[in-house]
Every structure is written in structure tokens, then in C-alpha cells.
Symmetry: C2
């Protein structure tokens, strides 16, 4: 007998098969017992005599094997059922569990969902988050590969930070100190000078002491960087096309999931507007009477701006440009001479999901910028040397995968879109 | 004028275009100057008057822009050349560099290649290593996705090791100690109990004090794990199909690269033999008079076994099974009652590139195994709990991406297949 998956049953009508999976639901009537079996490809109703269940005591979430015959059954959703010929428990679940995989887990706390991660993942309300996230990241990579970007895999153990040394985790590295990388920024730039277009998908680390709904100490960063650009507009244009591609694919493959999470189809991002930082402040003042913002936006402002954008354009998304240079990292390219940066944020459905921009590409520009931030260029010599090798004008961006997943599914906390979230208080499981 | 890439020139015959890239080669004759421009899509010969080069002094590895007209030229390799109408330097390379990107870098030391990474990456002898590696990893992922595996992204910050606490890097995590993950093994197993089939591609960390040609403190691990197996043979079978798929794709897309590295087409892995550990010892004794091996193979034995396999089967690869259980991690499934493990190594072209096997899937089995290794089950309670949730019989494997890349290209040191290698002595660049 052939071991097959639920999704392959339709090719085995009338045949004997072996299925393996979990007991998803159980129902015993006077004359018939129903076992809904779940594997990674779907669920199927299996039917047997109540005696069968007496001999083999099974319960929800046991790992089992069913030998059976596939019988056409017009009343079944799939169009067929499996008549149970034999049933074997492969590994029992415990008698008492805090929830079952097929239960409504909307009221189960996040800590319990983590402590019993496999059960949670087997439940579609959690499992589908991570299946969609995996697909989203796969489309990020494949779109960029189609645009001649090369994927790079750069070290997360670094000798110093990219942004001046704050919020770094220290590693005891043999007899010295190293740090966990906050960003692949420098490596991406070296990649541009070598391969012109590069991307990386990997964890980055911030020793962020505050546990907010949008911050983690370890998050998955979707990074890209490319050379020979004229300005940050090319980076924004690429992001519009990239996100539109990802969203189209997700609309195609995850329509039922999006619906279950209360979401309609994801929008085209091709006509997301670009607003100046100063214009954002004006709009916030005009629409909400806000006068408290100076050199950056806050979470409330991000929500308010997306609302305004949605009213005007139908899509709750906006690129914000022209941030004050002073609040951006030293490698940020200035725009004109009035203290503005050639960088941008993308706000989507009320949350900043991307920071990007054009970077300085000349050694002298970087040296001046370092001095302007009170840092000594000589201590960056190993980094600056990479700009002596024909570094082209370049820019790039980083998308937080957990944040984007949350915004796609309408979830309010990045812990819901992280399989094993890390914050100040959690390093296990 | 349209900014295009070298690879798109053939669609612009007779037209004016803008190209951006690096000066790959330069040649000035009495009446003509030749500039070979390189971008991420290829190289193209551009032709102008020597005067042009007098006005704009350019040199190798400068980042430049060329405005020109694409002219059919039957003598050119591409079938066309670009007549230079204008030339602009976007960013100069330094006057003195230790090597140029277009040079023969076979005698340039590894430290120099790292200190000037962009130049090295622009040279095909280095750049192609990483382009092939990126493709190899992309095919790893896409093949597994086609087999219903879900990609997972698990934390690299962990509270304890998976293999008993040796060779761990310590992280100062706020006011306590955490560690860098040595393997996603536990997370993969939780993933199996939730999603049935999972894979991950990510860095893992070993505080390995010895700097050998095959060891790094940070390497990229291609991990997979799946449930409802009957034994490790299913894992080996999947690996044969997976590697054969990857190799077929690389043969198709990287034939010229493989040739340049002195390699023929990569073999089919579908009929790699499986040898018992004891049989391997017998073969080594018979063929090489070796009697020094007891409970594991050494690098020389791996080379010798692959040679024997090649003589017998035409492919220098062999699965070794039946290793002594005592030398394997506690979660390894035993085979029979005589102290052998349900695990395997895959040797390929003289090097171990994979360790895999079936794992224990019951709580009681794991508790016994922990006690057998002198560890206390209660201190693993958070981990053991995950085996109360209907954990199916399961197994998996891990492939070292740097090692596999090295074996594919015939390189002798994993530092050559790591963009930014980390060992005891290197944490930068």
C-alpha cells in the first residue's frame, strides 16, 4: 500500500492507501466513527466502525497512521472519504493539553502559544501566518533574482556597529569582544561595489530594552542595495514594483487565508505617493491639530498619515522623504544643502515597514559625515578603504519581515508574526 | 537616452544608450581607444577616439558612465560594439590598488582578497563562487518548497545548546547570558510537530578554536526536517533527489563557470551507495591498511572512501550509516540494540557535507537518552514538553553550504566559499 498525502488522495479513488498525520477532529456516533486526519497538505474525513476506535484508543492531536480505501462520497466536501481498514497510533499526545490544534485559539495567550509551539503551528490561525510569511520572503528573493540581484550571506559577527555603537549585543568571542550585526548595511555596500545588485534575508539584532508591539531584539530583515542610481527615487520605484509583485502572488496563493484574517486583496503599490517630511507635518497639523513633531514621526503620526493617504489615493501607504539628515545614520546621502536626507520611509497600513535611501559613495563624503557626527574617520579606515575601489552611487532599503507580515494580515503585534520572538524577557523557546 | 545594462544592448542595435559600470580593461592605440565596461550583466567593448580619454582621465576599476551608440560589428564577440559619444567618471578608484578586478588573482592572498572584497567580487574567479552559491541555495529552497516543505526562520539567540553545551558563544543579553545557536535542530523538530515538513537556511555558530580548511565559527547551514518517516533511508532518498535537482540546475546555468574551475558536469546522486560504518573500516583496512579508526572517520578516511566509491560507481560519494550511537547527539534514534545510530553522513568528493538521521520522537526515549549521556531530563523540560504534542517519527539533515560550494567548484578551503569568513582570528571585514 502506498503512503500518500491528503492532497494526493483524489488520484487514488477506489484504491487502498496509507495516510499519516494528526487526529484533527473525532466524532463517534452509534454506528459510525469519524476521524478527521490532518497532514501538511490538508484534512480528510476517515470513516470506520465504532469498534475500531475501541480497540485503538485515539484522541485529538495523536500522530496516527490510517490504512484505508478511498471512496467517492458526493456529500463530502472533497468529493470522497476514506474507509478505515486499519489504524495505528505512531505517537500519543499527552492526556491534558492547554488547547488542541483544531480549537478556536483566539483567546489563548501568546505565552501558551509559544510554550506549545507545535500545537499552535498546527492550527491554521497560527500556521498560516508563517506559511504566508515564508511565501512572502520567497517572492522577495525571486523577484530580485529576476532583476539581476545576487543573494549574499554576510556575517552576523562583527567588530563594531554600523550606526555608532548603541544597542549592540556583545559576544564573548574567544579572548575578545565582538558584536551581533545590527544591519548588513556595510556588507551590502561592499556587495554593490563588487556585484552591483545584492540582497540579503537574515536576522539582525538590536539590544532594544523596550518591549513594544513593534520591536524585537532579533528580527528578519529583507535587505537590498544596488548601484549606479541617480537618486533615492529609483530605490522607491523598485520597492513599489517589488511589493506589488509580492502582493499579487500572495493574492493568488493565499486568498482564503487573507479572507480568514479579515483582509481583502492586497493593493497595487505602483502609485503610492511621496510626501515631504515638512508636508507631512503640515498635513498632520491641518488634519489633527498636531504641533508636537519635530525631527521624526511617531507611531500615531504613521497611522494618521496612512489614513490621509487612503482617503486621497485609496491605498493606506505613503513614502516620506526629506527627513532631517541629523537623525539619520552617518552614511546617509544629503539632499541639497539644507540639512535634509536622501532617505525615505515607507508607511503601510499605519506602520513604518521600510527605511531606505541613497548612501554616500565617496571616501571624502563619508569622512566629512563621520566628523560631522563627532566620529573619527581613522577608526573606520577598514570600512572607508572599500570606497577607494570604484564604489558607484548607490542606495537600498530594508523591510522588516515581521512588520510586513503583520500589516498584510492585520495583526497588531510583531510577536504574532515571529515563530520564536526575542525581547528583553524572552530567550526561550 | 535610456540607461540600460550590457545584457540588454542587443535589443538596442543602432540606438543611443547610457551604460554604467566599471572600467574592466583599457587599451589606447594611435587612432582608437578601447574601454571594456563591466556591469552585473556582462562586459562590452566601447570604442572612442584617444582624445576622449585625454579629456577624461579614466583608469581600471573607476565607476563610469558611457553614452554611446550600439554599432553592429561582426568581428566583436558580442556581434556589436558601442561607439562612445560621452564618458563620465562617477567615482574614481584609488591610484594604487593591490590588484585590479580584471587581473589574474590566483596568486593574491586570501587576506588581501578580503580586505578589498569589492574588487575580488568583481573578479569572476571570486564573484562566480558566490553567484553559484546563491543559485545553489535558491534551488535548495525551491525544491523543498515544491515538496510541501515550509521555510522557517528560527531564533539564533538561545538559552542553551542543542548538543550539551560545548563550543557555544556567549552573548551578553541584558542582565543575563544567552548563546548563539549551534543548530536549528530543536526548532526544526518543533516545526515538524506543527507543519510536518520544514527547512531553514541560516547561519549557525560553533566556538571552534581550531582554524582548519573545513571549519568556520559561523557557517551557513541548509537544514531540513520532516515527519512520518519509517527510517533514515527516507531522509537519504530525499537528499539524493534534492542534490540531483540542484546539480542539474547548476549544470544548466553554470556550465562555463564549472569549466573555468576545472570541473565537468555535476553527477546524478540518485545511486549513491550506502555503506555501514563497520564496512567502511573494513574497506579502509583492505585498501589502505588502516587500523587506526575506532568510532569516527577522519578527513583522510573521507577522501579514501570517496575514491573507492568513485572506482566502484563512477561517483565519488557515499552515505555512511551505522555510526556508534555514543558519538552522536542525545536526540539520535538508535538502530537496533547494539549501540548503532540511525544517522548518516554523506561524503562527497572526499569531504563530509551532510550529517543527518532519524531522531527520537517520544518523551520517554529522549529522557532515557539524556540520562544515558549523564544529563538530567528535568533541565530539558521545556524542550521535552514539545514531544507531548503528537510528535511524529521524524528525521532530517544539515548541509554545510560553504563545504558543498567548495566541493562543487573543487576549492580546498571553506574560506574561499565564504564572503566574510569568521574564525578564531577574524571578525572583520
Amino acid at each position: 500500500m502506498k503512503k500518500i498525502m491528503v492532497a494526493e488522495l483524489k488520484e487514488s479513488l477506489g484504491k487502498e492507501v496509507v495516510l499519516r498525520g494528526w487526529v484533527h477532529r473525532l466524532r463517534a456516533l452509534a454506528k459510525t466513527a469519524f476521524v478527521i486526519l490532518q497532514d501538511c497538505s490538508g484534512t480528510i474525513q476517515c470513516v470506520g466502525s465504532p469498534d475500531l476506535l475501541k480497540h485503538t484508543s485515539i484522541k485529538l492531536d495523536d500522530a496516527i497512521e490510517i490504512k484505508g480505501r478511498v471512496r467517492p462520497e458526493p456529500r463530502a466536501k472533497a468529493g470522497f472519504e476514506v474507509d478505515i481498514l486499519g489504524l495505528k497510533v505512531l505517537n500519543e499526545a499527552a492526556q491534558m493539553l492547554p488547547f488542541n490544534a483544531s480549537a478556536d485559539i483566539s483567546s489563548v495567550g501568546q505565552d501558551i502559544l509559544l510554550d506549545y509551539r507545535p500545537l499552535a503551528l498546527r492550527n491554521e490561525a497560527v500556521g498560516d501566518v508563517f506559511k504566508l510569511q515564508a511565501a512572502m520572503i520567497a517572492h522577495f528573493r525571486s523577484y530580485l533574482s529576476s532583476q539581476r540581484f545576487t543573494e549574499i550571506f554576510t556575517s552576523k559577527i562583527v567588530a563594531s556597529g554600523t550606526e555608532g555603537g548603541t544597542n549592540l549585543f556583545e559576544i564573548k568571542y574567544f579572548d575578545r569582544v565582538a558584536y551581533l550585526a545590527q544591519s548588513p548595511q556595510f556588507f551590502k555596500e561592499y556587495g554593490v561595489a563588487g556585484l552591483e545588485r545584492v540582497f540579503e534575508t537574515a536576522h539582525v539584532y538590536r539590544a532594544e530594552p523596550h518591549a513594544t508591539s513593534r520591536h524585537l531584539t532579533e528580527y528578519y530583515s529583507l535587505d537590498l542595495e544596488f548601484g549606479f542610481i541617480d537618486g533615492p527615487e529609483e530605490v522607491m520605484q523598485l520597492e513599489c514594483e517589488l511589493l506589488t509583485h509580492i502582493f499579487e502572488q500572495l493574492n493568488k496563493d493565499f486568498e482564503p487565508v487573507l479572507k480568514r484574517f479579515g483582509q481583502g486583496a492586497l493593493p497595487s503599490m505602483l502609485s503610492v505617493p511621496t510626501w515631504e517630511f515638512s508636508e507631512c507635518l503640515d498635513r498632520l497639523k491641518h488634519a489633527h491639530g498636531r504641533t508636537d513633531l519635530v525631527d521624526d514621526l511617531d507611531p500615531q503620526a504613521e497611522r494618521q498619515l496612512c489614513e490621509i493617504a487612503e482617503q486621497e489615493n485609496g491605498v493606506p501607504a505613503v513614502f516620506v522623504v526629506g527627513f532631517p539628515l541629523a537623525s539619520r545614520p552617518f552614511y546617509t546621502h544629503p539632499r541639497g544643502g539644507h540639512g535634509a536626507a536622501q532617505s525615505f520611509d515607507l508607511l503601510f497600513r499605519g506602520l513604518e515597514i521600510t527605511t531606505g535611501g541613497q548612501r554616500l559613495h565617496t571616501r571624502s563624503g563619508l569622512e566629512n559625515a563621520l566628523r560631522g557626527k563627532g566620529m573619527e574617520p581613522t577608526s573606520f579606515e577598514q570600512h572607508l578603504r572599500m570606497f577607494d575601489l570604484g564604489m558607484p552611487p548607490h542606495g537600498g532599503l530594508a523591510i522588516g519581515a515581521e512588520r510586513l507580515t503583520a500589516q498584510i494580515l492585520g495583526l497588531t503585534n510583531v510577536r504574532q508574526t515571529t515563530m520564536y520572538p526575542r525581547d528583553r524577557y524572552h530567550i526561550a523557546p
